[in-house]
Symmetry: C2
């Protein structure tokens, strides 16, 4: 048994939570986050891994960057992206467990 959350969040908190979920509710962004779990990768590398266009990946990386979920550093001609917020993965773990538990 889990104890319930202390009190219903107000509108602003609801909006914040919504934003976080919205960011990681897109399959492309979610895939990028999983790819970056172990090592930093270039835009080209990510695009190749997901079999998507460079531009699409770059756009999504900007979205993730704005949300502080990834960070980037230049290496020669490439930009290397890496996770900026590993805590997000504890959330993802919860959801994975949730999926497992619902497979009965």
């Amino acid at each position: 048994m889990k104890k319930p959350l202390s009190s219903p969040p107000n509108t602003e908190v609801i909006q914040e939570i919504s934003k976080i979920f919205k960011i990681i509710s897109d399959p492309t962004r979610l895939s990028i986050l999983f790819l970056l779990q172990y090592k930093e990768l270039s835009v080209k590398n990510i695009a190749a891994s997901l079999d998507m266009e460079q531009s699409a990946i770059s756009h999504q990386l900007q979205t993730l960057k704005k949300s502080r979920l990834v960070k980037s550093k230049r290496e020669g001609k490439s930009m290397l992206y890496s996770l900026d917020d590993s805590h997000v993965f504890s959330v993802l773990e919860q959801v994975l467990n949730h999926i497992k538990e619902s497979e009965h």
Copy 2:
């Protein structure tokens, strides 16, 4: 230190996770879930609490029901909705902690 997830999820799992996040990334749906955390409520009651139209709430409740996040039972003229999946709240807790931790 958390140990990483065992392996990158495949496309189908990514899609599943995305769907879950998408469901709870809408402010209205999220608010409904929080409202239902302690007690079951009628559609009218929820609509009044959120100051929204009955129809909008009803539509969102159907979405939540499809996703097995809420269940309903009839009581007279009313329909009482309640949480069907309390496990989702462990995910929400994680996100709340996440927000708290990022307020430094």
